[in-house]
Amino acid sequence: MLLSPFLSPQPMHIPDGFLSPLVSILLWVFSVLAIAYSLKRVNEDLGERQVPLMGVLAAAIFAGQMLNFTVAGGTSGHLMGAAIATILLGPWAAILVMTTVVGVQALIFQDGGLLALGANIFNMGVIGVATSYFVNRTIRRIAGERRWGVFLGGFLAAWVSIVLAALAVALQLSLSRTSPANIAIPAMAGIHALIGFGEGLITIGALALIYAARPDLLLSSKQRAVGGNALWVSGLAIALALAIASPLASSQPDGLEWVAEQQGFLDTARGPFYEIIPDYIFPGISNQAIATILAGVLGTLMVFGVSFAVAYSRRKRRLNEVRQSR
């Protein structure tokens, strides 16, 4: 029962009343900045074709979220669509398309609040698209123009975008003191690790069909020029920030507040403030939090290391095969 809000078809749309005014307004500011910059870039990149393309694709993403497949026990896999939009349209148009989708969902269908719309656009539009772009771009760069890069990139982009957007939701809720971080973050992360798997599978299926019918849409070099390195770096930064902040915050019910306190505390660690923190809390928790972060960072590095190694070995083998065939 506790998990049902997280399992509902669109578990990421925060309604009004759940975010503190400060958090809502701050995220509105971030979203408006991202939208303004995307509008500028889309104007340069797509020209006059942009309005019909983005409008119809936004409608398609909205309709595509209805397509589901049963998983087990009445639950089903759905599409959020940030990853596929990023892959098909490039990141800037994808941010606008996701903004439109989330905006219509809030305005017309009350799926997510109006004051919370800034946060929802930020989570699903900005975070979803930036991290999708970062992951997909990285894999595609490694794979070159080969087929597996399209699918692996699509799957991982979809999974990462879902999980990180969910983590952002949990962090925002705990920052607003609506849901305790030590419950919200593991719950959102755990459930969305599964939901993201469904998103990844649907994305692969969609990419497979598009690859068969219109490979030019996926293999064109157009996409590369559009995003640029700055976005790649911001995708990486968002991913890292969420990956580090989440375990830190989830070690305490007060979440980020505790982290902030901890940061302030670390500066004055040798001051008299030390005595205020009871002995039995500080060493254990601090070690635990640092251990969690270290594990997270190590895990990320290992995953990246392994994927790089696999990718490079494949590339080498391919090169050898090419050489031998000559």
Partner: protein
């Protein structure tokens, strides 16, 4: 405009329907902001806001029951806030023991949870009234009035125009899948393939939906060019607000501000 089962707009002639969309839009946002700014546990303020929402619902002639039913459907997210009743420290209200765990509901925790649920419920009612009494083209006008970039408004408008076409397309895809799928009572016949296979089918459907959308957007672009589109989004200037609209706007904003002052004093 094509009438579709999804469209929540309910045409009518009530005073709320007749209020200018820009005024409704701004007042809805102001109302939701006021609700968000109201502190936890300010019960009299919540009652005032709820009374306001119900008055608007009655004036809108939508039926209070209609709005309240829809508002309940939008609420399952409330459960995300449920853990706070146990985690906010304070005086114990009730202790539950489930097996090895002892859960203690605290008074401030319960207060916080009920406040969040109430605020969310009141806010969503106002959003429902806005969507049910304002047609989408009027909402687009309102977006233009609060300086949403014209290009983005145009994308919103185009999305709305083709939303129902593409939803129909998605429904056709789902009907096609359903008509090709079978189920049997015999135990040795399993219905459907493995999970991966099912996901692949759904993905293929999404892929063909996107391809059709891309092709459709090409055709739309051609028709737009044929009608003289040059990349510039033009719109007629916004009509001036009537005196009655101005009066309603300032009166309600003043009232909301008074409520906010009351909430701050509370």
């Amino acid at each position: 405009m094509h009438v579709h089962f999804l469209d929540p707009y309910r045409p009518g002639h009530s005073s709320i329907h007749q209020l200018d969309a820009r005024v409704k839009f701004i007042l809805t946002l102001a109302f939701i902001l006021t609700t968000a700014l109201t502190p936890i546990g300010a019960w009299p303020i919540y009652i005032l806001l709820l009374a306001w929402a119900i008055i608007v619902e009655i004036l809108s002639e939508l039926g209070v029951g209609f709005v309240l039913r829809r508002a309940v459907l939008a609420l399952p997210f409330v459960l995300a806030a449920l853990p706070v009743i146990f985690t906010v420290p304070g005086a114990a209200l009730l202790s539950l023991s489930i097996g090895p765990w002892a859960l203690t509901i605290t008074l401030p925790g319960a207060e916080r949870f009920i406040s969040i649920a109430l605020k969310s419920w009141i806010s969503v009612q106002m959003a429902i009234v806005l969507a049910a009494t304002t047609s989408f083209p009027d909402l687009l006008t309102a977006m233009r009035a609060i300086k949403v970039p014209r290009l983005l408004v145009a994308v919103f408008g185009l999305m709305w125009r083709y939303l129902f076409v593409l939803v129909d397309e998605a429904l056709r895809l789902m009907r096609a899948r359903l008509s090709r799928s079978g189920e049997s009572d015999r135990e040795d016949l399993k219905s459907g393939g493995a999970l991966i296979w099912r996901a692949k089918v759904a993905g293929g459907m999404a892929g063909s939906l996107f391809l059709r959308a891309l092709e459709r957007s090409d055709r739309i672009y051609m028709t737009m060019l044929a009608r003289g589109y040059d990349g510039e989004v033009r719109a007629a200037p916004l009509p001036p607000l009537s005196r009655r609209d101005w009066l309603t706007l300032w009166l309600c904003l003043g009232l909301l501000f008074a409520i906010l002052v009351g909430a701050a004093l509370f």
